[in-house]
């Protein structure tokens, strides 16, 4: 399984905080995103927004980053701390 987390306004927009996804057939983070959008078409504009940040195992990565069973993946809006 892959654990997928959503934060802040992205979580509010999706109405979802986390979801578990079977790992088979998923290669990259972009593919995982496609899988999520296929299951929830109304997530598409939010998850595919240019501004969305991605993390795998708590490190910022690009959409081409591979995801594997056991990974913790996060989709995040631009950060606004400080």
């Amino acid at each position: 399984m892959i654990t997928v987390l959503f934060f802040a306004q992205l979580r509010d927009q999706l109405g979802c905080e986390s979801v578990s996804v079977p790992a088979q057939d998923i290669g990259t983070l972009a593919a995982l995103r496609g899988h999520l959008v296929a299951r929830n078409p109304h997530w598409q504009p939010h998850l595919e927004a240019d501004s969305v940040l991605f993390a795998v195992n708590q490190t910022l990565v690009k959409a081409e980053h591979p995801v594997r069973a056991g990974d913790e993946v996060a989709f995040m809006p631009p950060v606004t701390g400080g």
Partner: protein, 149 residues
Amino acid sequence: MSEISVQVDRFDAGQEYAALIADDTDGGAAVFFVGRVRARSEGRQVTGLTVEHYPGMTEQALERIVQEARQRWPLQRVRVVHRVGALALGEPIVFVGALSAHRAAAFSAAEFIMDYLKTHAPFWKKERTPEGDVWVNARDSDQQAAQRW
């Protein structure tokens, strides 16, 4: 004292400064930054804010930023404190302190840490306003500030 703290509790900037310089006689230059909840934000009246974060990743991101600053400048000590949860008007949100033998290094390190924290650490602010809660928008100027380094 750890270099990094992500905490709900309010901190005292004076105490953070005192801890940063305690028992040190080599750091001739101390720079500290405090970010505070302010009453106006992009034209909105703000009565407080809530800071959300990504527990675990936050600490890792801050560690990475501090290590990067230490590689770039000679620093005696560094301290980063960021609060999460509900904050009232005027309360401190973030403290960054940098102690170095020379002021240029202390200034640069503190500003670098803030610029990177603003763009690389998973915190999100939601402002309380008379019209309801509003997520803060990321600003292009923060991206540009981080790209200078």
